[in-house]
Amino acid sequence: MNGVHDMGGMHGMGPVQPEQDEPVFHHRWEARVFALVRAMGKFGRWNIDAHRHQRELIPAAEQLRMSYYERWLAGFSGLLVRHGFLSAEELATGRPVEDASVAGSARLSPALPADKVPAFIASGSPASRKSASAPRFRAGQRVRARNLNPTGHTRLPRYARGKTGIVDRVHGVFVFPDTNAHFLGEHPQHVYSVRFEARELWGDAAAPQDSVHVDLWESYLEAG
Protein backbone atom coordinates (compact mmCIF):
# COMPACT_ATOMS: atom_id res chain seq x y z
CA MET A 1 0.00 0.00 0.00
CA ASN A 2 1.16 3.52 -0.71
CA GLY A 3 1.26 4.41 2.99
CA VAL A 4 3.26 6.85 5.09
CA HIS A 5 5.41 3.95 6.31
CA ASP A 6 7.06 3.99 2.86
CA MET A 7 9.26 6.96 3.71
CA GLY A 8 12.23 6.71 1.39
CA GLY A 9 12.83 10.03 -0.36
CA MET A 10 10.34 12.13 1.62
CA HIS A 11 11.22 15.61 2.86
CA GLY A 12 9.90 17.57 5.80
CA MET A 13 10.54 15.05 8.59
CA GLY A 14 13.11 17.25 10.33
CA PRO A 15 16.73 16.58 11.28
CA VAL A 16 18.01 13.26 12.58
CA GLN A 17 18.36 13.51 16.34
CA PRO A 18 20.79 10.97 17.78
CA GLU A 19 20.65 10.57 21.55
CA GLN A 20 23.81 10.17 23.61
CA ASP A 21 24.01 7.05 25.81
CA GLU A 22 20.56 5.96 24.73
CA PRO A 23 18.97 3.20 26.85
CA VAL A 24 17.70 0.07 25.08
CA PHE A 25 14.17 0.96 26.25
CA HIS A 26 13.06 4.43 27.37
CA HIS A 27 10.12 3.15 29.43
CA ARG A 28 9.36 -0.20 31.07
CA TRP A 29 6.20 -0.55 29.01
CA GLU A 30 8.28 -0.45 25.80
CA ALA A 31 10.32 -3.40 27.07
CA ARG A 32 7.13 -5.27 28.04
CA VAL A 33 5.42 -4.71 24.68
CA PHE A 34 8.57 -5.75 22.81
CA ALA A 35 8.73 -8.96 24.86
CA LEU A 36 4.98 -9.62 24.58
CA VAL A 37 5.12 -9.40 20.79
CA ARG A 38 8.07 -11.79 20.67
CA ALA A 39 6.59 -14.24 23.17
CA MET A 40 3.23 -14.36 21.38
CA GLY A 41 5.01 -14.74 18.04
CA LYS A 42 5.90 -18.23 19.30
CA PHE A 43 2.40 -19.46 18.45
CA GLY A 44 2.95 -18.85 14.74
CA ARG A 45 -0.59 -17.50 14.30
CA TRP A 46 0.74 -14.53 12.39
CA ASN A 47 4.04 -13.80 10.69
CA ILE A 48 6.47 -10.90 10.45
CA ASP A 49 4.87 -9.66 7.24
CA ALA A 50 1.38 -9.62 8.78
CA HIS A 51 2.78 -7.86 11.82
CA ARG A 52 4.37 -5.17 9.65
CA HIS A 53 1.21 -4.78 7.61
CA GLN A 54 -0.93 -4.42 10.74
CA ARG A 55 1.22 -1.42 11.68
CA GLU A 56 0.94 0.02 8.17
CA LEU A 57 -2.85 -0.05 8.56
CA ILE A 58 -2.76 2.43 11.45
CA PRO A 59 -4.29 5.67 10.05
CA ALA A 60 -1.52 7.78 8.53
CA ALA A 61 -1.79 10.82 10.78
CA GLU A 62 -1.70 8.63 13.90
CA GLN A 63 1.21 6.60 12.55
CA LEU A 64 3.31 9.73 12.15
CA ARG A 65 2.43 10.93 15.64
CA MET A 66 3.08 7.61 17.39
CA SER A 67 6.39 6.37 18.72
CA TYR A 68 7.82 3.09 17.45
CA TYR A 69 6.58 1.03 20.39
CA GLU A 70 3.18 2.75 20.34
CA ARG A 71 2.86 1.46 16.78
CA TRP A 72 3.93 -1.98 17.98
CA LEU A 73 1.30 -1.85 20.72
CA ALA A 74 -1.43 -0.84 18.28
CA GLY A 75 -0.45 -3.48 15.71
CA PHE A 76 -0.11 -6.18 18.36
CA SER A 77 -3.51 -5.41 19.91
CA GLY A 78 -5.10 -5.71 16.48
CA LEU A 79 -3.45 -9.07 15.81
CA LEU A 80 -4.50 -10.49 19.19
CA VAL A 81 -8.15 -9.86 18.38
CA ARG A 82 -7.94 -10.81 14.74
CA HIS A 83 -6.40 -14.18 15.63
CA GLY A 84 -8.73 -14.95 18.48
CA PHE A 85 -6.32 -14.68 21.40
CA LEU A 86 -8.49 -11.93 22.86
CA SER A 87 -12.02 -10.85 22.14
CA ALA A 88 -12.74 -7.23 21.27
CA GLU A 89 -14.58 -7.03 24.58
CA GLU A 90 -11.55 -8.25 26.51
CA LEU A 91 -9.35 -5.73 24.75
CA ALA A 92 -11.79 -2.94 25.52
CA THR A 93 -12.35 -3.81 29.17
CA GLY A 94 -9.02 -5.39 30.06
CA ARG A 95 -10.92 -8.18 31.82
CA PRO A 96 -10.91 -11.82 30.72
CA VAL A 97 -14.22 -13.26 29.58
CA GLU A 98 -15.08 -16.91 30.04
CA ASP A 99 -16.07 -17.69 26.50
CA ALA A 100 -15.32 -20.91 24.68
CA SER A 101 -15.48 -19.12 21.34
CA VAL A 102 -12.29 -17.23 22.20
CA ALA A 103 -9.51 -19.38 20.82
CA GLY A 104 -6.68 -18.25 23.05
CA SER A 105 -6.27 -20.56 26.01
CA ALA A 106 -3.42 -22.13 27.91
CA ARG A 107 -4.69 -25.57 26.95
CA LEU A 108 -4.55 -24.87 23.23
CA SER A 109 -1.49 -22.67 23.32
CA PRO A 110 1.01 -23.24 26.14
CA ALA A 111 3.03 -20.12 26.85
CA LEU A 112 6.69 -19.75 25.90
CA PRO A 113 8.55 -20.78 29.08
CA ALA A 114 11.43 -18.62 30.37
CA ASP A 115 13.97 -21.41 29.98
CA LYS A 116 13.17 -21.69 26.27
CA VAL A 117 13.88 -17.99 25.59
CA PRO A 118 17.60 -18.37 24.72
CA ALA A 119 16.82 -21.12 22.19
CA PHE A 120 13.90 -19.09 20.85
CA ILE A 121 16.20 -16.11 20.20
CA ALA A 122 19.03 -18.27 18.82
CA SER A 123 16.88 -20.13 16.32
CA GLY A 124 15.12 -17.06 14.96
CA SER A 125 12.66 -17.44 12.16
CA PRO A 126 14.39 -17.89 8.80
CA ALA A 127 12.47 -16.56 5.79
CA SER A 128 14.54 -18.45 3.23
CA ARG A 129 13.02 -21.49 1.58
CA LYS A 130 14.45 -24.38 -0.38
CA SER A 131 13.58 -24.22 -4.04
CA ALA A 132 14.66 -25.93 -7.20
CA SER A 133 13.64 -22.98 -9.35
CA ALA A 134 16.43 -21.17 -11.15
CA PRO A 135 16.71 -17.41 -10.66
CA ARG A 136 15.34 -15.47 -13.63
CA PHE A 137 18.02 -12.79 -13.35
CA ARG A 138 21.77 -12.99 -12.81
CA ALA A 139 24.31 -10.66 -11.23
CA GLY A 140 25.27 -7.88 -13.60
CA GLN A 141 21.96 -7.95 -15.45
CA ARG A 142 19.95 -4.77 -16.01
CA VAL A 143 16.47 -4.88 -14.48
CA ARG A 144 13.58 -2.49 -14.00
CA ALA A 145 11.43 -2.37 -10.89
CA ARG A 146 7.85 -2.69 -12.07
CA ASN A 147 5.41 0.12 -11.45
CA LEU A 148 3.22 -1.78 -9.00
CA ASN A 149 0.82 -0.03 -6.64
CA PRO A 150 -0.90 -2.78 -4.65
CA THR A 151 -3.34 -1.72 -1.95
CA GLY A 152 -2.07 -4.52 0.32
CA HIS A 153 1.36 -5.19 1.80
CA THR A 154 4.44 -4.87 -0.41
CA ARG A 155 8.17 -4.43 0.10
CA LEU A 156 8.75 -2.61 -3.17
CA PRO A 157 9.37 0.97 -2.05
CA ARG A 158 7.74 3.72 -4.09
CA TYR A 159 11.03 5.46 -4.84
CA ALA A 160 12.30 2.41 -6.78
CA ARG A 161 9.20 1.79 -8.92
CA GLY A 162 9.80 2.20 -12.61
CA LYS A 163 13.53 2.68 -12.03
CA THR A 164 16.31 0.74 -13.70
CA GLY A 165 19.24 -0.84 -11.89
CA ILE A 166 21.77 -3.64 -12.02
CA VAL A 167 21.45 -6.93 -10.14
CA ASP A 168 24.30 -6.88 -7.62
CA ARG A 169 23.65 -10.17 -5.81
CA VAL A 170 21.27 -13.08 -6.06
CA HIS A 171 20.28 -13.73 -2.44
CA GLY A 172 18.29 -16.94 -2.76
CA VAL A 173 14.63 -17.82 -2.32
CA PHE A 174 12.51 -16.14 0.35
CA VAL A 175 8.89 -16.03 1.51
CA PHE A 176 6.93 -13.46 -0.53
CA PRO A 177 5.61 -10.77 1.84
CA ASP A 178 2.86 -9.54 -0.50
CA THR A 179 0.95 -12.80 -0.06
CA ASN A 180 2.27 -13.95 3.31
CA ALA A 181 1.15 -10.75 5.06
CA HIS A 182 -2.42 -11.54 4.00
CA PHE A 183 -2.22 -15.26 4.91
CA LEU A 184 -2.42 -16.16 1.24
CA GLY A 185 0.59 -18.47 1.37
CA GLU A 186 4.35 -18.09 1.32
CA HIS A 187 4.84 -18.31 -2.47
CA PRO A 188 8.64 -18.14 -2.16
CA GLN A 189 10.58 -16.26 -4.83
CA HIS A 190 14.16 -15.33 -5.61
CA VAL A 191 15.32 -12.09 -4.00
CA TYR A 192 17.93 -9.83 -5.58
CA SER A 193 20.00 -6.95 -4.35
CA VAL A 194 19.52 -4.36 -7.08
CA ARG A 195 21.90 -1.44 -7.31
CA PHE A 196 20.21 1.78 -8.44
CA GLU A 197 22.38 4.76 -9.30
CA ALA A 198 21.47 7.67 -7.06
CA ARG A 199 20.94 9.79 -10.19
CA GLU A 200 18.47 7.27 -11.60
CA LEU A 201 16.42 7.60 -8.42
CA TRP A 202 16.86 11.25 -7.53
CA GLY A 203 18.09 13.11 -10.59
CA ASP A 204 21.19 15.09 -11.35
CA ALA A 205 21.54 16.66 -7.91
CA ALA A 206 22.78 13.30 -6.58
CA ALA A 207 26.48 12.44 -6.66
CA PRO A 208 27.23 10.49 -9.85
CA GLN A 209 29.06 7.67 -8.05
CA ASP A 210 26.49 7.11 -5.27
CA SER A 211 23.94 4.31 -5.26
CA VAL A 212 21.11 2.75 -3.30
CA HIS A 213 20.87 -1.04 -3.05
CA VAL A 214 17.36 -2.40 -2.62
CA ASP A 215 16.44 -6.05 -1.96
CA LEU A 216 13.63 -6.97 -4.34
CA TRP A 217 11.59 -10.09 -5.01
CA GLU A 218 11.60 -11.49 -8.54
CA SER A 219 8.00 -10.55 -9.36
CA TYR A 220 8.81 -6.90 -8.60
CA LEU A 221 11.29 -6.96 -11.49
CA GLU A 222 11.37 -7.19 -15.24
CA ALA A 223 14.32 -7.31 -17.61
CA GLY A 224 15.56 -3.76 -18.13
Binding site: M10, R38, R52, P113, P157, F174, S211
Partner: protein, 197 residues
Protein backbone atom coordinates in the same frame (compact mmCIF):
# COMPACT_ATOMS: atom_id res chain seq x y z
CA UNK B 1 -8.43 -0.33 28.29
CA UNK B 2 -6.72 2.91 29.30
CA UNK B 3 -5.16 5.07 26.58
CA UNK B 4 -1.91 5.64 28.48
CA UNK B 5 0.46 3.10 26.89
CA UNK B 6 2.06 2.14 30.22
CA UNK B 7 -1.30 1.26 31.76
CA UNK B 8 -2.54 -0.32 28.56
CA UNK B 9 0.46 -2.62 28.26
CA UNK B 10 0.13 -3.58 31.91
CA UNK B 11 -3.53 -4.48 31.37
CA UNK B 12 -2.71 -6.40 28.19
CA UNK B 13 0.05 -8.34 29.92
CA UNK B 14 -2.14 -9.32 32.87
CA UNK B 15 -4.89 -10.42 30.49
CA UNK B 16 -2.52 -12.64 28.51
CA UNK B 17 -0.91 -13.99 31.69
CA UNK B 18 -4.32 -14.72 33.19
CA UNK B 19 -5.27 -16.66 30.06
CA UNK B 20 -2.04 -18.63 30.34
CA UNK B 21 -0.73 -17.39 27.00
CA UNK B 22 2.29 -15.59 28.39
CA UNK B 23 4.77 -16.45 31.13
CA UNK B 24 5.92 -13.14 32.69
CA UNK B 25 9.29 -14.71 33.45
CA UNK B 26 9.78 -15.37 29.74
CA UNK B 27 9.14 -11.66 29.16
CA UNK B 28 11.78 -10.84 31.78
CA UNK B 29 14.22 -13.20 30.05
CA UNK B 30 13.58 -11.64 26.64
CA UNK B 31 14.12 -8.14 28.01
CA UNK B 32 17.22 -9.20 29.92
CA UNK B 33 18.69 -10.69 26.75
CA UNK B 34 18.37 -7.46 24.77
CA UNK B 35 19.27 -5.12 27.62
CA UNK B 36 22.37 -6.97 28.73
CA UNK B 37 23.46 -9.82 26.50
CA UNK B 38 22.79 -8.88 22.88
CA UNK B 39 24.19 -5.56 21.68
CA UNK B 40 26.84 -3.78 19.62
CA UNK B 41 29.63 -5.47 21.59
CA UNK B 42 28.75 -8.61 19.59
CA UNK B 43 29.17 -6.84 16.26
CA UNK B 44 32.38 -5.24 17.52
CA UNK B 45 33.87 -8.70 18.10
CA UNK B 46 33.04 -9.69 14.53
CA UNK B 47 34.60 -6.53 13.09
CA UNK B 48 37.72 -6.77 15.27
CA UNK B 49 38.25 -10.37 14.23
CA UNK B 50 37.80 -9.44 10.57
CA UNK B 51 40.46 -6.74 10.98
CA UNK B 52 42.92 -9.17 12.55
CA UNK B 53 42.25 -12.26 10.49
CA UNK B 54 42.14 -11.92 6.67
CA UNK B 55 40.69 -15.41 6.27
CA UNK B 56 37.83 -14.53 8.62
CA UNK B 57 37.25 -11.26 6.80
CA UNK B 58 36.99 -13.10 3.48
CA UNK B 59 34.46 -15.51 4.99
CA UNK B 60 32.50 -12.62 6.52
CA UNK B 61 32.22 -10.87 3.16
CA UNK B 62 31.20 -14.00 1.25
CA UNK B 63 28.95 -15.73 3.82
CA UNK B 64 28.32 -13.41 6.74
CA UNK B 65 25.84 -15.75 8.43
CA UNK B 66 28.35 -18.60 8.69
CA UNK B 67 31.13 -16.23 9.78
CA UNK B 68 29.14 -14.66 12.61
CA UNK B 69 27.97 -18.13 13.66
CA UNK B 70 31.65 -19.02 14.18
CA UNK B 71 31.59 -16.51 17.05
CA UNK B 72 28.31 -17.88 18.35
CA UNK B 73 26.04 -15.14 17.02
CA UNK B 74 22.89 -15.42 14.95
CA UNK B 75 19.18 -15.98 15.33
CA UNK B 76 16.26 -13.60 15.61
CA UNK B 77 16.50 -10.78 13.05
CA UNK B 78 19.94 -11.94 11.96
CA UNK B 79 18.89 -15.09 10.16
CA UNK B 80 20.20 -13.80 6.83
CA UNK B 81 23.25 -11.59 7.19
CA UNK B 82 25.29 -9.61 4.68
CA UNK B 83 28.48 -7.69 5.54
CA UNK B 84 29.52 -4.73 3.38
CA UNK B 85 33.02 -3.30 3.57
CA UNK B 86 34.08 0.32 3.85
CA UNK B 87 37.27 1.08 1.92
CA UNK B 88 39.26 4.26 1.26
CA UNK B 89 36.90 4.94 -1.67
CA UNK B 90 33.57 3.38 -0.62
CA UNK B 91 31.35 4.25 2.35
CA UNK B 92 28.32 2.07 3.19
CA UNK B 93 25.21 3.17 5.06
CA UNK B 94 22.33 0.95 6.23
CA UNK B 95 18.66 1.96 6.54
CA UNK B 96 15.20 0.43 6.46
CA UNK B 97 12.89 2.90 4.73
CA UNK B 98 9.77 0.70 5.09
CA UNK B 99 10.00 -0.18 8.79
CA UNK B 100 13.07 -0.50 11.02
CA UNK B 101 14.86 -3.73 10.07
CA UNK B 102 18.13 -4.09 11.93
CA UNK B 103 20.63 -6.90 12.68
CA UNK B 104 19.62 -7.69 16.27
CA UNK B 105 22.19 -10.43 17.02
CA UNK B 106 25.10 -8.12 16.24
CA UNK B 107 23.81 -4.67 17.19
CA UNK B 108 20.95 -5.33 19.61
CA UNK B 109 17.75 -3.31 19.24
CA UNK B 110 17.84 -0.20 17.04
CA UNK B 111 18.17 3.29 18.52
CA UNK B 112 15.24 5.69 18.22
CA UNK B 113 16.88 7.77 15.47
CA UNK B 114 17.27 4.68 13.26
CA UNK B 115 13.52 4.02 13.56
CA UNK B 116 12.61 7.68 13.09
CA UNK B 117 11.04 9.35 10.06
CA UNK B 118 13.94 11.80 9.53
CA UNK B 119 16.50 9.01 9.10
CA UNK B 120 14.27 6.60 7.17
CA UNK B 121 13.10 9.28 4.73
CA UNK B 122 16.42 10.94 3.95
CA UNK B 123 19.09 8.22 4.21
CA UNK B 124 18.32 7.14 0.64
CA UNK B 125 17.85 10.56 -1.01
CA UNK B 126 20.41 12.58 0.96
CA UNK B 127 22.86 10.23 2.67
CA UNK B 128 25.62 12.83 2.77
CA UNK B 129 23.32 15.34 4.45
CA UNK B 130 22.24 12.73 7.00
CA UNK B 131 25.86 11.85 7.73
CA UNK B 132 26.60 15.56 8.24
CA UNK B 133 23.96 15.55 10.99
CA UNK B 134 26.06 12.86 12.67
CA UNK B 135 29.13 15.07 12.30
CA UNK B 136 30.55 13.06 9.44
CA UNK B 137 31.56 14.99 6.32
CA UNK B 138 32.56 12.63 3.52
CA UNK B 139 34.89 13.79 0.74
CA UNK B 140 33.00 14.56 -2.48
CA UNK B 141 34.86 11.80 -4.31
CA UNK B 142 33.85 9.02 -1.89
CA UNK B 143 31.30 6.57 -3.28
CA UNK B 144 28.32 6.26 -0.94
CA UNK B 145 26.38 3.00 -1.06
CA UNK B 146 23.11 2.95 0.82
CA UNK B 147 21.60 -0.44 1.69
CA UNK B 148 17.83 -0.34 2.14
CA UNK B 149 16.81 -3.44 4.14
CA UNK B 150 13.58 -4.07 2.25
CA UNK B 151 13.76 -7.89 2.50
CA UNK B 152 14.90 -10.29 5.25
CA UNK B 153 18.59 -9.66 4.63
CA UNK B 154 20.25 -7.76 7.46
CA UNK B 155 23.30 -5.61 6.83
CA UNK B 156 26.46 -5.05 8.86
CA UNK B 157 28.94 -2.37 7.81
CA UNK B 158 32.54 -3.52 8.18
CA UNK B 159 34.16 -0.19 9.02
CA UNK B 160 37.71 0.71 8.08
CA UNK B 161 40.40 -0.02 10.59
CA UNK B 162 41.99 3.24 11.72
CA UNK B 163 45.70 3.87 11.31
CA UNK B 164 47.76 3.53 14.46
CA UNK B 165 45.98 0.42 15.72
CA UNK B 166 48.43 -2.12 14.29
CA UNK B 167 49.69 -3.35 17.65
CA UNK B 168 46.27 -3.71 19.27
CA UNK B 169 44.68 -6.97 20.37
CA UNK B 170 41.25 -8.03 19.14
CA UNK B 171 39.74 -7.02 22.48
CA UNK B 172 41.38 -3.59 22.33
CA UNK B 173 40.17 -3.13 18.76
CA UNK B 174 36.65 -4.21 19.69
CA UNK B 175 36.52 -1.46 22.33
CA UNK B 176 36.95 1.15 19.55
CA UNK B 177 34.08 -0.16 17.42
CA UNK B 178 30.76 1.53 18.14
CA UNK B 179 27.24 0.75 16.99
CA UNK B 180 27.19 3.80 14.73
CA UNK B 181 30.30 2.66 12.84
CA UNK B 182 28.56 -0.63 12.01
CA UNK B 183 25.46 1.17 10.67
CA UNK B 184 27.70 3.50 8.70
CA UNK B 185 26.90 6.83 10.35
CA UNK B 186 30.33 7.18 11.99
CA UNK B 187 33.97 6.26 11.45
CA UNK B 188 36.00 4.29 13.95
CA UNK B 189 38.05 6.65 16.09
CA UNK B 190 41.38 5.82 17.69
CA UNK B 191 41.77 6.67 21.40
CA UNK B 192 43.71 9.80 20.35
CA UNK B 193 40.69 10.84 18.30
CA UNK B 194 42.21 10.44 14.86
CA UNK B 195 39.65 8.80 12.60
CA UNK B 196 39.96 6.78 9.46
CA UNK B 197 37.36 6.22 6.87
Amino acid sequence: MPSDPALRVMALESLLVEKGLVDPQALDALIEAYEHRIGPHNGAKVVAKAWQDPGYKARLLTDAGAAIAELGFGGLQGEHMVAVENTPTVHNLVVCTLCSCYPYPLLGLPPVWYKSAPYRSRAVIDPRGVLREFGLELPAETEVRVWDSTAELRYLVLPQRPAGTEGMSEAQLASLITRDTMIGVALVQTPSGAGAR
